[in-house]
């Protein structure tokens, strides 16, 4: 009993550490190893989740609901690696994707228990809030040392991030936290409202300093969706507006130049012409030719940068960037088979999210039973998936273990809401 309790607690601890460290990955390197705690805890989580169930004599787990799509995509990736133009790079990438799949299933198992699943959004929000306050503190006090403190390329607009090494990726994770904070009722209900307001202030402040226009647009869209979600949630929206006003007022009072920088960044594409948008358009057009030339199995995993990185702008300047669009990268690297499998995977994810969110809405309005974890949780995770879906159309974030972790949490939540069971122990609590 004690050993079982210990293993269950360890499993939860590893899941929580993995999730909470996601927005701060670059800062949570285990000293002397060069390995982030996110990766270490994720790996240990897979082992612990399997061991725990084997020791208890249970099946390692049930289908997660998108397994056929995952298997098809894995097969397409394997084919792309087999017929790759760069076998070494592709084999490494394939190994990485297999590890991500293991992490995904480990997370689905570990997050399957309602008491665990209920706390996961809070952990991610805490990580995001720490990241946001770190960036704000770096701006105002000059400490702690940010992970990004550099002008946006080609401008003098200062970009600050605390936690990750890419401004847009940092914005993406802050938006994940923001979406969960907006939708998961448990995160802002009752006495937790001040904590939610504080977390929201940190997240919005951090988001502003990333100078990510895609991030800002997605943030506005999340608020809009929340406002139109059906439930008239004036309390959340008014509270959010107050938080935004107080955060913005506080930052601008101390550093008025931030407001000017944000204005310039927002107007960059309209007033001065925007190389980042223009280069994407050029790159997409050229990448399509290369992707089509890859045939059914593509050029091989991890080859997009080599295949599509040598393009030049219309002025003849080399771009030296990878395609900023995940479906394009998948198409280039895994061909038509991979692209179709990837789209099928997304269709499955959307179907699962839609079913869960619909059921959650019916349950919340008293029209039907709900076996969900907590109100708004399924919708919150759907907002996470939607945010990534939008970002993936303009950014190249594909090979990321963090996405496997978040997909595992989301699928566990949706399965729980849809009554399909998120894992082998769903509903049974801790032994």
């Amino acid at each position: 009993m004690t050993a079982a309790w210990g293993m269950a607690a360890l499993e939860r601890y590893l899941l929580y550490v993995t999730v909470a460290s996601l927005p701060l990955q670059a800062l949570t390197v285990i000293p002397g190893t060069g390995v982030t705690v996110t990766k270490a805890a994720g790996g240990l989580l897979v082992v612990t989740a399997l061991l725990r169930r084997l020791v208890a004599g249970k099946r390692p787990g049930r289908p997660s609901g998108i397994d056929v799509a995952i298997a098809l995509f894995a097969a397409a990736c394997a084919a792309a690696a087999f017929w790759s133009g760069d076998p070494t790079a592709s084999r490494g990438a394939l190994l990485g994707l297999v590890q991500y799949a293991a992490v995904y299933y480990g997370v689905v198992l570990a997050a399957g228990e309602p008491e665990t699943l209920r706390r996961v959004p809070a952990l991610l929000v805490v990580g995001c809030a720490l990241s946001g306050f770190g960036a704000l503190s770096a701006l105002v006090f000059g400490a702690p040392a940010p992970t990004v403190d550099a002008p946006v390329i080609g401008t003098t607009i200062r970009r600050i991030c605390y936690g990750l090494t890419d401004g847009n990726e940092q914005a993406l994770f802050l938006l994940f936290g923001f979406g969960l904070l907006l939708h998961c009722r448990e995160l802002h209900a009752g006495k937790r409202l001040p904590w939610a307001a504080l977390s929201g202030a940190g997240i919005l402040g951090g988001l502003a300093l990333t100078m990510s226009r895609t991030g800002w647009l997605c943030g506005a869209a999340l608020v809009g969706v929340r406002a139109l979600a059906g439930r008239r949630s004036w309390r959340v929206l008014i509270g959010g507006a107050i938080v935004l006003a107080v955060t913005a007022g506080g930052v601008l009072a101390v550093r008025p130049d931030v407001g000017e920088a944000m204005r310039r960044r927002a107007l960059q594409g309209i007033v001065t012409g925007d190389a980042s948008i223009a280069s994407r358009v050029v790159h997409y057009a050229k990448a399509a030719e290369q992707a089509a030339a890859g045939g059914m199995t593509g050029h091989g995993l991890m080859t997009a940068e080599r295949v599509a990185g040598g393009y030049a702008t219309p002025l003849g300047e080399p771009m030296h960037v990878t395609v900023h669009n995940v479906p394009y990268i998948v198409w280039i690297e895994t061909g038509w088979l991979g692209l179709l499998a990837y789209l099928w995977l997304w269709a499955n994810v959307i179907g699962l999210a839609w079913t869960a969110a619909s059921r959650e809405r019916r349950g919340a309005s008293g029209e039907g039973p709900s076996e969900g974890v907590t109100r708004g949780c399924a919708t919150g995770w759907a907002s996470v998936a939607a945010t990534y879906g939008v970002f993936s159309l303009v950014m190249p974030f594909l090979y990321r273990s963090s996405l496997a972790v978040l997909l595992g949490c989301a699928v566990a939540a949706w399965r729980s809401e849809a009554g399909g069971g998120g894992g082998s122990d769903r509903g049974r609590g801790l032994e």
Binding site: A9, R12, Y13, Y16, V17, A20, S21, L24, A26, L27, T28, V29, P31, G32, T33, V37, R118, R119, L123, V126, G134, G142, P144, A145, P146, V148, D149, A150, P151, I153, G154, T155, T156, C161, T165, E186, A189, G190, K191, R231, R232, S233, W234, E260, R264, L267, Q268, V271, T272, H320, E360, G363, S365, P369, S370, E371, G372, T374, R375, G427
Partner: protein, 387 residues
Amino acid sequence: MIREGSETVQPAHRSDGRSLSAPVYLDRVALLAIATVVALVVLHEWDPFGASRAGERNRLRELEDLVAGEAWTLAAQRGSALLERHYTEPRVHWLMSQVQRGNGLPDFGLQHLVIAAMPREGDMPLLFAEPSADALRRELVAYESAFADGKVRRERLLRMVRVQAALGAWEAVGDAMASIAAEGGGTASIAETAFAAALLGLTPEAWRSRGLPAAWAGPLCSGGGARVVSAESLGISGREIGVLAGGAGTGGRSLFVVGDAVRPAPAGIAWQLIAIDPGSGAVLKEGAVDLSGPSGHAELLDDWLRGLPEPVLIAGAASDAATASAPAEARQALRAALAVEGIPSRRGRRAYAFVAMRSKSTARATQTAAPGSDWPAMLLCRPERDP
């Protein structure tokens, strides 16, 4: 039942009938997980093991590893990307010096070494540790070996002189200058001396207190691409007007010389302007105009010029950062207001100096751009000595 807005909703519930809308607090395991993450972040900030590899520092270490492994091509790509974001960091320039030398491009590398060695103006905060004097010295020695084929051209020699001066190796500077200075005259104007001092990382006072010979000033200025024009051609008489637009290659300092007075100015992203009465030589106004924004450049310039009498002489210094951050609209506004031409492109990273005479709301100007990223732009409007 929970009331949310004006709508009554049911709490979510589990199959065992237990409501799940009741607040769930972070349990001990969750708090322990958060404590773990916070502890690691604190450890990272404190970095007692010297193992921090986050963010820009991580990228710098990656570049250092590539340099150590002599992977020059990849190092050139990574270093260029790092310079895009941290152009004023001496350590990145020091590494790029090694990279370009390794790539067989010593003239490019030497430019980086000059920027790396130049003393910084003021308290500019640096993200990365500065390279030590020993490291810079070793790098300079490597160039001396690389140029040992007897093709030490004048511009190479002057760059090496600048590095030696920045490192305080004045004997070596004297030896090197001896051959060059023999070509020049034995006197130097105030502006020439000020410019030459800036090229060696000194103030004019430090130049004089060191007793550096006036004969060095002319060759240093001409070797650095100083443009000399007739003051009379601009309608100035009887006094010298000089503009040195600095940048990373001068430690972040620009200079204006009006007659006998030397006026230092910061070489940041703003354009430094000074208005001079062409008759008396009195400075009417001086200040900075930031033209890096997306719009309103013409209004900013008009605001600055408003109220000035005409004719008026406007001298301007734009650092490498100022020209790199000036959009097309800013260049158009400068052309319209001051008739200046040939502003270096945004990717060029070169400083730019001009002197413009405005009269009856029209202007004519003379200007020059720095010959390289490590040099300032130097413009000397000198009265005809023998009319």
